[in-house]
């Protein structure tokens, strides 16, 4: 049995980042049932999740299978398994039934291991999850490790993939089709113009959204449906719609080039498009442990679902995290976090180091966050901070920041200002202020004015494309939650 070299493993890795991610996983203590023979190497990786990931690598005919949710092929678990094998840390053994069955479906060995130098990650046999296995070379940007093999292998290809892989590949293929359709639709909008009366009809948008739902791009579908509500809703709606059309195009393009993106960005793009990640898998990720200050909260109605966002900021790391909860009619939103408190906890981020996270184990708190209140920056510095996050992910709808600024009015419009600049406050045209009336005023303005008295205050704000939303006023001795709050007649939202 000829063992591979590390260079060969690097050659089949989707990216350098994948190798970096694989190295910490290549620890024998985190694996069970390791074994290898002259055809394959296998094992079960135990992360912090309930279910281990069953990983197997055909090192003779180059193929990979792993039950993890990663879209990357080979995933970091398969790479780690190879690294352990190369390092002589895996004893020879008899393949268990699952591995034997998998190898049997793959058929006999017909190709050699990849070349050391300049090896093409796609070179290999007709393996089920082998990137580009048996494929005709295509322009790199159009290739994706997860594109189903039967789309690349020609009409004679025999689909012998395990059910899990086939399901994932079908899902990816549908998503690609959906993204293609989205782009064609966007091009048509550019051609006929935003003044096209068809855009005023909800059905025009809903039909596209439904197709995106079918394509498993649910998050994009939500964006499209929200966009339908923007048409005609304000004097500058054309600009807002065009802005979002640009972002949809960016996401569509990025979604079809996932393999050319860095791992974290690819993960974030996939999540933004609607790739579902199980909470168990998120909770299996390495936690981000810190004293998390609950810096702000905002509730928004999206279609028929109320969405609650908690913005958390690490007292040590100064990193932001977003904890979401959802409630349909008569359901309850998450009330376990309280603005102005700090809780020591494990936070598990969604793939790609995204803002979105799940709260894992809580070790301490909640305590009032008087001493740990997030540091406030100037308006100008906040713009830089927000801009740098948007430069990486322009499609972010909301970005948090903490500023020290005063509310004031400029030509009839409310802004937050200091001596470095001003940020417009978002007009909440459908919500209600705390006095319970609807109107064209920024959410929370009345309380912001009363507490600040027109003087600068430390504020957690949420940037949105149409202005910033004040969420929390941090006073010396407490915090005042002024974020938009869900209608209690619709959902439980204490």
């Amino acid at each position: 049995m000829t063992r591979w070299s590390v260079e060969q493993v690097e050659a089949i890795a989707p990216s350098a980042a994948s190798m970096s991610a694989a190295r910490p996983v290549a620890a024998v203590s985190r694996w069970r049932g390791l074994g290898a023979d002259d055809r394959a190497v296998w094992g079960a990786f135990h992360g912090s999740g309930a279910e281990p990931y069953d990983t197997m690598v055909d090192h003779a005919a180059v193929g990979f299978s792993c039950s993890c949710p990663s879209r990357r092929v080979p995933c970091k678990h398969a790479l780690a398994l190879l690294l352990l094998w190369i390092d002589g840390q895996i004893a020879d053994g008899v393949p268990p039934a699952t591995v034997a069955g998998w190898l049997a479906r793959r058929g006999p060995v017909v190709v050699k291991p990849p070349q050391d130098e300049g090896a093409d990650a796609g070179a290999g046999s007709g393996a089920e999850s082998d990137p580009g296995a048996g494929s005709t070379p295509e322009p790199a940007p159009e290739r994706n490790a997860s594109v189903p093999d039967d789309r690349l292998a020609g009409p004679d290809h025999h689909d012998d993939r395990p059910d899990g892989d086939r399901s994932r590949d079908d899902r990816v293929a549908r998503m690609y089709d959906g993204l293609n359709e989205l782009d064609r639709w966007l091009v048509d909008r550019m051609r006929t113009g935003l003044a096209d009366p068809a855009l005023a009809r909800f059905e025009t948008w809903d039909a596209l959204a439904s197709r995106l739902v079918d394509a498993r791009a649910g998050s994009l579908a939500n964006r499209v449906r929200r966009l339908a509500g923007v048409v005609g809703a304000s004097p500058d709606w054309h600009e807002l719609v065009l802005d979002e059309i640009g972002l949809l195009h960016l996401l569509s393009q990025a979604g079809r080039r996932l393999t050319t993106l860095s791992d974290p960005l690819a993960d974030r793009v996939a999540t933004t498009i609607g790739w579902q990640v199980r909470q168990l898998d998120v909770l299996a990720n390495v936690p981000d442990t810190d004293d998390w200050v609950v810096a702000g909260r905002s509730d928004t109605r999206e279609d028929r679902i109320e969405v609650r966002r908690f913005w958390l900021r690490g007292a040590t790391s100064n990193r932001w995290a977003l904890v979401l909860s959802f409630a349909a009619y008569r359901q309850s939103l998450d009330t376990s976090l309280h603005v102005g408190t700090v809780v020591r906890a494990d936070l598990h981020r969604y793939p790609g180091g995204a803002l979105r996270s799940l709260v894992g184990d809580r070790f301490d708190g909640p305590e009032p966050a008087i001493a740990a209140a997030p540091p406030a920056s100037s308006v100008s510095a906040a713009c830089t901070e927000i801009g740098s996050m948007l430069a990486v992910e322009p499609w972010l709808d909301r970005v948090p920041a903490v500023v020290r600024a005063a509310p004031t009015r400029v030509e009839g419009r409310w802004v937050l200002t200091d001596d470095t600049g001003a940020l417009p406050l978002r007009i909440d045209s459908v919500g209600t202020g705390q006095s319970g009336r609807a109107g064209q005023v920024p959410s929370g303005l009345e309380v912001l004015l009363a507490v600040s008295g027109g003087r600068p205050v430390d504020l957690t704000i949420e940037w949105t494309p149409t202005g910033v939303v004040p969420l929390t006023i941090h006073r010396v001795d407490d915090a005042v939650d002024i974020g938009p709050r869900a209608d209690p007649s619709f959902v439980g939202a204490a």
């Binding site: 113009g193 195009h249 801009g387 200002t417 940020l423 705390q434 009345e446 008295g453 027109g454």
Partner: protein, 286 residues
Amino acid sequence: MSANVMSHWEQLVTVALLGTDRRDPPDVPGPVADLVADAVRPSPAERMLAEVAAVTAIRRGGLLPLAPATPLPGPGVDDRPRCPRRASDRWRHLVASWPVLEDEWMITLIACGWRVDPEIAAPMLGRHRRDPVRWGRAVVGVGPLAEWLVEFVPSIALAGGRGGVGTNAEPGIAGPDRDVTLELPDLPIPAELGALLVAPGAEVGKVVGQEIAAGLAAGRFGPAHRIVLVNLLARVPSSGLADIETVLTSGQPGAVDFALAASLLDLVRTRRTMLDELVRPEASDR
């Protein structure tokens, strides 16, 4: 972001309105040209879409603040201390559960020399904007901030064209548009129950508590009597609350209408806590 990009965006919006069937996309400026240069986009609509996406990304990443604005002139100075946070939380609780106690909360707050926490100033003024007496009292409690706030948030001004905030509003002093009184309003209490309130100061709590407990145990008091009992307990001298709480706590298990008994006990406890929270620390030290 540069004026160049802004200008280009405005051109893109114009063309997007009309559509590329009617008008060609604008010429691409330098940096954007590099981004969208791509021979595989044959149609004007595809080129337009790529430009829109590129300029959108640039505009977002290049977020810049507006020019600094002139701060608002601040409200007048109010030397009174802000009421404790638990007191403003209590006000919210009263509004939701025991509005019958709100007048006493407000009057006690003013009498004790607190000012209303600005956090609840706007909702408080908005809540009473159709009631000149309570609105006027809220103005006194909020202090100079009230006048300032109403100027910017007219929706919390007194309704009916009498929204002006008197500058000479002081406790017990009539303002130009209203009378501010620190007297608790009368509540409807039947004479036979009202007679209990004239018991000697030290006895009033026991007398009222025992009467209510006995009535609850005998089934004389039911849901129909809730309002008058609530009114009675809201107007019992505060010195008697501790005794009433003791009597009701011990008599609660024997009450025929247990829910009513529990509700009345909650009222008494809430009122006691409310008054305790509004005692100034220096006053309680004396």
